[in-house]
Amino acid sequence: MRAVFRLLVARLFVSLLVLAGVSVLIFAIARVIPGDPARIALGPNATHEQVAALRGQLRLDESIWSQYAWFVNDLSRGELGQSLYTNRPVVKDIAQFLPATLELVIVAGILMICAGLPLGMLAAKYRGGVIDNVVRLLSLLGVSAPSFVWAVILMLLFAFYLPLFPIAGRIDTAFEVPGVTGFLLVDSLLDGQVAAFADALRHIALPALALALSGIGQAARLTRANMVETYDRPYVEMARSYGFPEWRIARSYAFKPSLIPSLTIIGLDFAAMLGNAFLVEAIFAWPGLSRYGVAVILRKDLNAIVGTVLIISAAFLIANLIVDLLIALINPRIRHSRDAS
C-alpha cells in the first residue's frame, strides 16, 4: 500500500505541474486571440472612454506578466475573476454548469465500462463464435463514427422518428429538484422524487449513449484483444489442467490480468469524453459547460476562458489519476514493487 501512496503523491505532484503549465499556456493564448474583450463586452455603441475605463478595470493595459501575477493571486484565494459574459464570478458560473457536464460524462463512462468490458469478455470467451462476430461488428460501428454523429443519429432515430426519448434538455421543467450535488440523478433521489429521477434518466439516456458509443466499442475491442492474448498464457492452461470452472478461468485468469493493459487506454477514452461532450451537449441542448465555453470564447471573456479550460484540464487529470490508481490496485507488481517498499 505504501507503494500506491507514493505513486499517488508523485502523480498528484506531476498533475499540479501540468495544471500550472496549462494555466500559463491558456492564459497566453487567450490574450493572443485578436479582439478587445472590453470593446466586445460593451458593444459597438460604447464610447472610447468607457472602453478605456473597462480596460483599466480589467488591468488589460498592464504587462502580461503582471496580469498573470494577478491571476495567480486570485487563484490562491480560490477565485478566477469576474466573467464579462455573465457578470458573475467565473467560479460561480462553473459551479452552475460543470455538474451537468460531469453527470453526462460520468454516466457515459459507466455505460462504457458496464457495456464495453462485458461485451469484450464475452467475445473473447466465445472467440470465433457468433457472439464474438456480433460484438466485433458492433464495436467497429461504435468506433467508426465520432460521438456527435452518433448524437445526431440517435436523436433522429429515438427522439424524432420514434419519440421514445426527449429531444433536448436535462429534465422536464415541471420538476423542481433542490440542488445539493448538482447531479440531477442524485439530487432527485435524495429528495425522494422518483418521477423526477426517471425523467432525468430519460433525458440523459441518448446524449450519454452517443457520448459512450465509441468508448464502448473501443473498450470491447481492447478487452477482447487483451483477453484473447491472456487466454494463451501458460497460467490459463495450468488453471484448465486443474479443472477450474470455465467462468472462473474467464474472470480471474483471462479477464483480470488482461485489464492491466486495457485500463490505460480506457482511461484515456474516458478523458477524451470530456472533450467530445462539448459537441454532444450542443446537439442535445444540454445545459452544461459547453454552451458556456463556446459563448465565452466568442466573447473573448478572458477570465471565463481560462477558468473553463483549467477546470476541464483538472477533470482530465483526475480521471487519469483514478485510472493509474486502479491499475496499481490490480497490478501487484506496482503495488508491491521492491524499490518502493
Binding site: 498464457r233 501458460p234 497460467y235 492452461e237 495450468m238 488453471a239 484448465r240 489442467s241 486443474y242 479443472g243 477450474f244 480471474s252 485468469y253 483480470k256 490480468p257 492491466i260 490490480i330 497490478n331 501487484p332 507488481r333 508491491h336 521492491r338
Partner: protein, 290 residues
C-alpha cells in the same frame, strides 16, 4: 497384475485447421502402472504435449480436434465420461507440472489464494485457515523454509526455483494418483532443474503417485524414469525399461537420439539429423524383465 493407472491404446489425434488436417498422433499405445515412473521422450513437435493434454481431457474440449482410440484412467474410459466428469479428475486424481513455473502461476493473485483454489477442487468447503495451513505444510515438504511468506507473495516476487517448488507442492497437495510433468523446469537453469526433479522424485515416492515424465532431455529421462517410450512424429518407435533401452537401443531413431546427446543444443533439444527412412520402422518393444 492390477489395473494400470493410465492405459492409452491406439490413440489418434488430428487437428482440423484452415489449411487442412494435421495428424499429431498416429496411433499411440502407452501405459503407466501404479507408482511407476514412465518417460515419454521425443523431439520437438513429436506429440508429447498433446498426449498429456489428451490424458487431462483438455484436447477433448476443443472443437477442432478428432480423437480416436482409448484412454483409460484407473480403468475408466475417459471418452465415456462427460466433460464435467473428466474435469473432476483434473487437479484431483491427475495433476500436471508445466515447463515454465513462473508464467504458469497467475500473476495477479497471491500464491496462497491459488493454493486454496487447488485444495478446494477436492474439498470445496475447506476454510481459508485450514487450507493455508495445509498449503504451508506441503510447502515445507518441498524444502521451502518460509512457507508463510511464500503463500503471501505474488509469483513475480519468487525465484524460478521457488515457483517450481510451489508448482510441485500444488500438484501433489490433492494426492493425485498420476502426475504428468511436461518438461518440468526446462525454463530454469540446469542445477535448479536437477534439484527440483530430485525433489519431485522423492515426493512422488512418498505420495505413491505414478509419474508420466515428458522430456526431450535424455539425461533426465535416464535418471528419473523406470520405463520409457520413444515417440517420433506421433508414433511410439521404441519402448522398454529405461536401462535396457539405453544399453541396447534398437530403433534407428532412438540410436540417432542417443548419438545426438553430445551435440545437445543450448535448449537441451538433441539435434537429430534430417529424416532417415529407418525412423519410420515399426516399434521396438523391449521384453519386460520377468
Amino acid at each position: 497384475m492390477s489395473v494400470p493407472v493410465l492405459d492409452i491404446r491406439d490413440l489418434r489425434l488430428a487437428f482440423q485447421g484452415f489449411d487442412g488436417r494435421t495428424e499429431a498422433l498416429k496411433g499411440i499405445s502407452l501405459s503407466v502402472n501404479a507408482e511407476e515412473r514412465v518417460a515419454l521422450v521425443g523431439e520437438s513437435g513429436s506429440g508429447k504435449s498433446v498426449t498429456a493434454r489428451a490424458v487431462l481431457g483438455l484436447i477433448q474440449e476443443r472443437r477442432d480436434t478428432e480423437l480416436t482410440g482409448s484412454i483409460a484412467f484407473e480403468g475408466t474410459e475417459l471418452a465415456r465420461l462427460s466433460t464435467a466428469g473428466r474435469r473432476r479428475l483434473r487437479g484431483n486424481r491427475i495433476s500436471m507440472i508445466f515447463q515454465d513455473p513462473v508464467s504458469s502461476l497467475n500473476p495477479v493473485y497471491r500464491i496462497g489464494a491459488q493454493f486454496l483454489e487447488v485444495i478446494r477442487r477436492r474439498e470445496p468447503r475447506i476454510s481459508k485457515r485450514e487450507g493455508c495451513a495445509r498449503a504451508a505444510a506441503k510447502l515445507s515438504e518441498v524444502s521451502i523454509t518460509e512457507p508463510e511468506r511464500v503463500l503471501s507473495s505474488y509469483p513475480f516476487q519468487l525465484s524460478g526455483g521457488m515457483c517450481q517448488r510451489v508448482m510441485i507442492a500444488m500438484a501433489l497437495i490433492n494426492a493425485p494418483s498420476l502426475l504428468i510433468a511436461d518438461e518440468p523446469g526446462t525454463a530454469l537453469d540446469v542445477t535448479v532443474q536437477d534439484q527440483t526433479l530430485r525433489l519431485m522424485r522423492q515426493l512422488v515416492l512418498e505420495h505413491r503417485a505414478a509419474v508420466l515424465l515428458i522430456s526431450h532431455n535424455l539425461g533426465i529421462v535416464r535418471e528419473y524414469s523406470d520405463r520409457l517410450y520413444v515417440i517420433y512424429r506421433g508414433r511410439i518407435v521404441e519402448q522398454g525399461a529405461t536401462d535396457s533401452v539405453f544399453r541396447d537401443p534398437r530403433h534407428a531413431y532412438t540410436r540417432a537420439l542417443l548419438d545426438a546427446v553430445p551435440r545437445i543444443t543450448r535448449t537441451g533439444i538433441p539435434v537429430v539429423g534430417e529424416d532417415v527412412e529407418a525412423f519410420s520402422a515399426p516399434c521396438e518393444i523391449h521384453a519386460e524383465a520377468a
